[in-house]
């Protein structure tokens, strides 16, 4: 069976989540690989959520927030931006390709941007292949992991 990436997305309630919703309402096709978790702000996305996703089997993590200057909470999106920059640096030392983490600004009216980003990111992760972090870490459960897709 061909590899289908498992992508966890954290979208802010005010912009990107609504933008993704708009993409759906507008019947814009986007990949079903993305599992969206709605947060109130991209600044709410703690780095531990992102690493937990990788630990539990995500192949990629996408974070969506409001455009700079548009944050509903004034500067949560800047916090997200700084965290992602620092986290990418840390991911490199853990041996995870930093391209598996992506931050995008998508407003509530940008359903087409969501479609584009979702398609492109899924394609990126597909070409990177499975991360299988848990399997990599926990050799004991590697036989189980091979069965669970």
């Amino acid at each position: 069976m061909a590899f289908e990436p498992r992508i966890v997305a954290f979208f802010c309630n005010w912009c990107t989540y609504t933008g993704a919703d708009l993409a759906g309402v507008s019947r814009l096709k986007s990949p079903a690989n993305i599992r969206i978790i709605r947060t109130m702000c991209s600044g709410r996305v703690d780095p531990s959520f992102i690493m937990k996703a990788f630990e539990l089997g995500a192949d990629g993590v996408l974070i969506g927030g409001c455009h700079p200057g548009d944050c509903h909470y004034a500067e949560g999106n800047y916090k997200a931006l700084r965290r992602v920059h620092l986290l990418k640096k840390m991911m490199r030392s853990f041996g995870i390709d930093e391209k598996r983490l992506r931050l995008e600004w998508i407003s509530a009216s940008e359903g087409d941007v969501y479609q584009h980003v979702a398609t492109e990111f899924t394609q990126t992760i597909r070409s990177l292949g499975p991360l299988n972090w848990k399997q990599h870490v926990d050799q004991k459960s590697s036989s189980e992991q091979a069965v669970v897709v």
Binding site: D46, P47, S48, M51, K52, F54, E55, P68, E75, Y78, K79, L81, R82, R83, H85, L86, L87, K89, M90, S93, F94, G95, I96, W133, V137, D138, Q139, K140
Partner: protein, 323 residues
């Protein structure tokens, strides 16, 4: 009534934890009077075979310091687990890997190459590496097998309690020992399993006497690059201080000596990953909104992974231990 039995052991550690036990000063006499010390390689002359000969669950309390780096560490961890009623991970190494676990960022092969080939003082033209078994004419010589990754004690055996710190502060050690004696003497109930003993339930910042302002950091400094203001929050001054992501209990010892908190008391309550929590805290104080400027400031942090996980690598979410 026979005295309760006490064992102390050091696995992969520096010996500082054993010194921390002795640092309780005259209280060590209470320990010696109340307990029968049955095993303590650092201070007494008992052999492994003495421990092997003891019945299971015959040691009342075992304070185990050091992480699990090789087969000997693991064997002793399993042995002492079987022989002890209460097994305590004593100190940061046993609790969450500490400095030895930073080796999990590299491989066994690379470590051996550095140690036995590349260091300037090493002369090893035949490329001889330590072997678990060496045949000599008198017989086979065995040394412990070096594991691929460093593990904390609880990644190898079941652990009852934790005492954090690198090393645990002597006042905290004394308080824990007093509490243990009280429990054993007066039949008081044990704390719930998994409790972290000898530490607070807030962060190091809570104990820090320095004045804090709004944090806006334009550049991070290493200690030799800046004259530190002794009264102002270190993080405010652009020094990476682990205080916000570290459990209280040490009495803010380092920051009072004008040195930033290194994070040895581990993650504060309800935090699963100390390194990521610190990453989050640092990201919040960086005063920049443009990606290029953010990168510039981030690049002034020397080795973020090693700094944020200095003590907790074995317990990081992406723990790179071959469990």
């Amino acid at each position: 009534m026979a005295k309760p039995k006490l064992a102390l052991y050091w696995a992969a550690s520096c010996g500082g934890c054993d010194v921390a036990v002795l640092d309780i000063e005259v209280k060590i006499l209470d320990v010696a009077a109340f307990f029968d010390i049955v095993f303590w390689p650092c201070a007494t002359d008992f052999k492994y075979k003495d421990v092997e000969a003891m019945p299971d669950k015959s040691i009342t309390l075992c304070l185990f310091n050091g992480s699990i780096r090789n087969s000997e560490n693991e064997k002793l961890a399993k042995l002492l687990r079987a022989k002890s009623v209460v097994l305590v991970a004593f100190g940061s190494c046993a609790q969450e890997g500490c400095i030895p676990a930073l080796a999990n960022l590299t491989t066994k092969e690379a470590i051996f190459k550095t140690v036995y080939l590349d260091t300037p003082s090493t002369h090893n033209p035949d490329k001889i590496f330590p072997q678990p078994v060496t045949k000599v004419k008198e017989g086979d010589l065995e040394i412990p097998v070096f594991w691929e990754k460093v593990k904390s004690l609880d990644q190898v055996v079941d652990v009852d309690y934790y005492i954090p710190g690198c090393p645990p502060q002597s006042t905290q050690v004394a308080a824990v020992i007093e509490a243990v004696i009280d429990i054993l003497k007066n039949g008081k109930p044990l704390p719930p399993k998994g409790t972290i003993l000898g530490a607070g339930d807030k962060t190091c910042c809570d104990e820090c006497p320095r004045t804090r302002k709004e944090k806006k950091v334009k550049q991070f400094y290493r200690l030799h690059e800046i004259l530190i203001n002794p009264d102002e929050c270190l993080l405010d001054q652009g020094i990476v201080c682990m205080g916000p992501a570290t459990r209280s209990g040490c009495g803010a010892l380092c920051v009072k000596a004008n040195v930033p908190c290194r994070g040895c008391y581990g993650a504060p309550p309800n935090v699963h990953d100390q390194g990521l929590k610190m990453l989050s805290a640092i990201s919040s104080v960086i005063d920049a909104q443009e990606p290029d400027e953010i990168d510039k400031i981030i690049n002034t942090i020397a080795d973020p992974t090693g700094t944020f996980y200095r003590f907790s690598m074995a317990h990081s979410t992406l723990k790179i231990a071959d469990l």
